[in-house]
Each structure stands twice: as structure tokens, then as C-alpha cells.
Amino acid sequence: MSSSRLPGVSDRGGGVTGPGFEALVDALFPFHFAVADDLRVQRAGPTLAARFPAVRAGARLGDLFEIERPALPLDHAALRGAGKSLVVLRLRQEGVRFRGQFLWVEESSSVVFFGGPWISDLGTMVAAGLELADFPPHDPRGDLLLQAQVRKTMQLDLAERQRRIEQAEEQKAELQRHLDQVRKTEVAAQVAGGLAHNFNNLLTLMHGHAELAAARLRAGDAEGALQRIRLCQVANEDAAALIRQLRNLSVDRAVEVRPVDLHQALERTRSLVQPMLGSEVVWEIESALPGGATALCDPNALGEVLVNLAINAAEAMSRRGRIHTSLHLEEPGHGATFGLPIGEGRVLCLRFADTGPGFGPEPRARAFEPFFTTKRDGHSGLGLATVERLVTLSGGLIRLVDARGAGACFEVRFPAAQEEPEARRRRVMVVDDEPAVLDLVTDLLAGAGYSVESFSDPLEALRAWESGRRFDVIVSDVRMPRLEGPEMVRRIEAVGGAVPTVFISGFAGGALESEAPTSAGPRVLLGKPFSGARLRNSIESLLLPAPSGN
């Protein structure tokens, strides 16, 4: 077949035409075929003839191939005119696709197809009964097929690697579960051991004092017996306190995570515990966040944490020294460093440092362990363990870090609350010398979304205003020993201009009525008792813009 004269090749021998030229065409295009004007095959290239014997001289083009594209009618004229089109044919019997072009050879009125099988992967090549050597070395199809095979191998590699990664992750998770279980067992053993030790001591005390009380009674020494009984009661109370601490550790107490102003929480705690710390303990509060430091945490848990840390610090300093607390905001992503599930939010960091002796290497590593203590005076060793648990339950993280200089330094991190719409985040100054009322009003307003700062001392509140702090509204008690509410507000307004004020009082309205008529801002008097809703309404009524024309 392949030796028949190439249509249009003249019998001049050698050169561009002649048998040499035919051999050239066969070598370059082994899958070519020529079609006469009767649409019958005149000639086929050597490899086409060898691999697909149906394509032989005399066979009808239409019987052999379907023209998939372009949309060409099966006539000679259409094929002649399709010289610039990429033609895709399908060999009907084997289903193999061919791609190429038809070229018109005028001398012989033949249309010749130059092209070859379209093979997209080695599997198709094998199925078609072809091999790489069927394509001339210059034909890039072989290279493309190898690349396709390599891509397939890479995909196999990736899939294998992914499976190994998943297996490794499963193993890691299993190991982690096992490790957690081992740790729980260890902690449980430690807690049980510590508990037994502490209770043994207390039971020994109670038993001993009870025996001695009985001895004193038998000896007729009622006073001595009473003393011993009191000591027994003290030991009993210590045991009860131990149980409460244990409960904090062991029970998943309910927490209510909500926006809490950390600065205000620090101020309030300082006010509450300062008497317990002693007069020679100075507690400084520093904030690099004049605009507010609102974190998401449980306010009650936070309060307990701060009290615990403050008392710990004071005891470590032998009730003489400085506590320094500071607040700063950390950028998005920083929290992930500490394992906080914050995602992209910012983190508020509260540093709690003292000027005590600090922690040595071993105590530092075990500081948060239940029952671990370096104190010799019967401390349970549950304080910091409780602190850690409260922080964790509240969605935060606590670390013991190297202090700058001597002393201990704790860093407590909580997610920063999202900024609330401007209209809701009114800043409220609350002033009341009665701690319970101060707490209540602060909690009510913070829970309603206000940014609240509270002062138990009206002079301190005045100093805050004088130092540049500003608030949208003041909520103040009327009767306060060091400075009455109305006078405080008058002095504040002298510094910062008119400020709306809600006065709260258990008395009749006489206090307000008696104030100097130089008050500038609007006033509301709220009598006790009052509800949170009434308090909020009072505030909002002061903050409403005045109707026009009034």
C-alpha cells in the first residue's frame, strides 16, 4: 500500500518529487491517507496501513471515518475547502480519533489527510494497539504522553502521602487521648494524695484538739476545753474551705462569658481587697488602653482570679511591696501562639506582677499543679490551680512568665470583645461608697453593654476626671462621707463641662433640691430600690437629644 505513488507526485525521480519524496512523506507522516474525488482511499501511510488495515485503497472514506468536526458534509468540495481547519475524525471500527488537516493536491484532484491518532494517555495508546515508536521522533506527542504519565504518578504520590498523613494524624490523636488519660490518672492520683495529706493534717488537729478538750473538761478546766474546741472548729472550717476549693477545681461550674471591662474589674478588685492586703502593699494599675479594655470572660471568675492573685502576691511579699498590673492589646493571630481559640480576633493581655521573691525553676514548672505549694503554713496548694481553672473555663489562658527584675509575673489573656456600635458603648462613671451597691450597679450597666468604670471614693472619681478621663454619664450616690454626690458633680463639671448624671438615693429628693443651682448638666434622681431597667431608662433619657424648640 505504502509503495503506491503519492498523488500529485510526478515521475521525474529524486529531489522534491519522485520515490524519494514519497519515502519522505511516509517517514514524516506515517498516518497520512489520500482520498480521490470519488471519496475512496487512494493511499495510506505505512503505519496507518499496518495498524489499521481497514484503511486500504478503494475503501470509502465515509465507511471508514466519521468527521466529528468541523461540521463538514462528506463531499470532495467541502474537504478541499477545509484546508485551514483542524479536523477531527473518528475511525468507526476501532473508535480511535484522528486529528489533522485536509490539503488539496491539485495535480491529482486528491485530498490528503496529514495528521495522526489523537492519544491523550498511555492507556489509550495501548488500547489502540499503538506504541511510541509508531510516532516519528520529531512528533511531540510522545513527549506529551510521557508528561501525562508523570502527572499521573505524581497524583498517585500525593494520594499516598495524604493517606499517610491521615494515618499519622489518627495515630497522633490516639496517642494524645492516651496521654490525656495518663495525665488525668496522674492528676487524680496527685489530687487524691494531696487531699489525703491535707485532710490527714486537719483530722489530726481536730482529733487532737478534741482529745485535749475532753482532758481539760475532766480536769475541770472549762476555759481550756473551750479553747481547744475553738481550735477544733478552726480546723473544721479549714476542711470546709478545702472542700470548696476542690469543688472549684472539679466541677464544671457554669460560666457566663460576656464583655467585661478589665480596667474596671482591676479597680474594683483593688478597692475590695486592699484592706486585706495590708497598708504596706501598693497596687498600681496601668493601662495602655485609654479607650477601654473590654474582654470576653466570666466577670465572676475574673474577680476570683484577681483576688487570688492579689492575695498570693501579698503573701509572697510578706505583705510589703508592690503589685503592678497592666493591660495591653495584642494583634490578631497573636492569641493562636498561646493556643487561644480566637481565630482572627485581638487579645487582651493582663500582666500581674509583684516584687516578691518570684518562683524558682522547679516551683515555676509546677506552679499550677493542684496541691503544690512552697508555703509552709498549711496552705492547700490549690490557689493557682483554681486560678488556672477559672481562667480556662472563662475562655482564657494564664502563664507564669519571667518578670522584668524580681518577683512573679502572670500573664492572663482573654479574647478582646468586638467593638460595639458607637451608640451602645456609652461610658458610665459609677460612684458609690457602698461596695455592694457599687457592684450591683456596675454589673447591671456592664451587662447592658455600657462601658463602666466604678469608684468607691468620690475624691478618686474627681481625680480621674481631673486627669483627663471622660464619661458620657455619671451614676452617683448622693450621700457619701468624703464628698457628697452633687458637690462632686459640680466640681467635675467645673473641670469638664456639663455631664448628665443619675443620682441614686435611699432618701427623699431633698439632697438634690438643696444643691447649689450652678449645676450644668441634666439630672435624674432614682430612688432605691430600683431595677436594672429603670436605671437604664434613666440613663438613656438623659442621653436622648433634646427635642427641637425646647
Binding site: L122, E131, A133, G142, Q149, T153, L156, D157, R164
Partner: protein
């Protein structure tokens, strides 16, 4: 060399001697990450260290190990999804050996970091030929011997092989000639 070869060494080791030996080989060869990516380029020295460690651990001579690797390679190539590549590379042993250089040339074009050997065939008869092997890498002739043995199995042929190491070329390339004679074991070649 591409990771495909290092993976094959790993699989050959595990198949013949188990994973414990492989781990020892990695320690000896100072290989920390043995998760080789097939199409990633690795230093030749890594492959040589692995082979050296295998020899040290098994007491086998280097040439024997390399020959075993060549045989394993033909089997491994099939198992790793290159079965079709072998299928389309030649229907008979002489055809495949004749196409070997083109195959490596195409690979070299597609993967510029690959520096494959060169092959050519001479003195071909109905039952014998000489396969010429040229390479810039020294000492890997036994691999070719192993590959030939593997191909003999693939085409169900009994082979007689002789390896002749010729003086290196002026550019330092290794030149070895493998005289290959074959006899059908069953029925000639694959359909």
C-alpha cells in the same frame, strides 16, 4: 536522581528484608526523611549512600545489589503505574531495547534536571544484539544488567548476557557494551 529511584530502593529493601533493615539503612545513610517524592530531584550522593548502607547491612557486594535493583526496577515500574509505559515502548525485547534511547531522550526533554544515560543497539540478529550504554555516572552498569534480566522475564525469554566495560570516552562518560542473546521461553513475544 529522581525520587522514583530512591523509592524503589526503599521498596526493594522492605520487600526483601523488612522495614527494620530499612530504618537501619536510613540511619547509616543519614537519611532523615525517607518519604521520597517520585518526581522530585535528590542528590546523587543520597542514592549512593543508601546503596552503600544496604551493602554494609546485608554483606552483599555493591554490584550484586545494583543488579538486584535493576531487576526490581522493571517489576517496580510496572507496579507503580508505569506498566503502560513498558507496554508502549516495544512489543519485543529488541524493539524495546532499540527504543530505549528515544524513551530516555523524551524524558530528558521533559525533565531538564534528569541526566539519563544513552543507549544504542548494534550487531542485531534474530536472536542477539549488542546494547551500548553511555553514562556520566560511574558504577551503574550492573543496574543495566539487572534491567535486562528483568526484561527477559517480562518477555518470557531465556537470556545469555555478557557485560564488557570499555575505556571511558574522552569526556569521561562510561561506555559499556552488553551482549544479549535470547531464546524464547514460551511463545516469542507478547501479542
Amino acid at each position: 536522581m529522581y525520587g522514583l529511584l530512591n523509592r524503589a530502593i526503599k521498596e526493594m529493601t522492605i520487600e526483601s528484608h523488612g522495614p527494620a533493615l530499612w530504618r537501619r539503612i536510613c540511619e547509616l545513610a543519614d537519611v532523615v526523611d525517607d518519604d521520597f517524592a517520585s518526581m522530585q530531584q535528590y542528590p546523587d550522593s543520597l542514592t549512593y549512600r543508601l546503596v552503600g548502607a544496604f551493602c554494609a547491612e546485608t554483606g552483599l557486594a555493591t554490584e550484586e545489589v545494583l543488579e538486584r535493583f535493576g531487576e526490581f526496577w522493571i517489576r517496580h515500574t510496572g507496579a507503580r503505574g508505569y506498566e503502560e509505559l513498558l507496554d508502549v515502548s516495544g512489543r519485543t525485547l529488541p524493539q524495546l531495547l532499540g527504543n530505549l534511547d528515544n524513551l530516555h531522550a523524551r524524558l530528558a526533554l521533559s525533565f531538564p534536571d534528569l541526566v539519563p544515560p544513552m543507549f544504542s543497539v548494534s550487531d542485531e540478529t534474530d536472536s542477539s544484539l549488542s546494547l551500548h550504554y553511555h553514562s556520566h555516572r560511574d558504577g551503574l552498569g550492573p543496574v543495566v544488567l539487572g534491567v535486562l534480566k528483568g526484561l527477559g522475564d517480562r518477555f518470557a525469554l531465556d537470556l545469555e548476557l555478557r557485560r564488557n566495560v570499555l575505556p571511558p570516552a574522552l569526556d569521561g562518560r562510561v561506555h559499556e557494551v552488553f551482549e544479549v542473546k535470547w531464546r524464547a521461553r514460551n511463545v516469542e513475544s507478547r501479542p
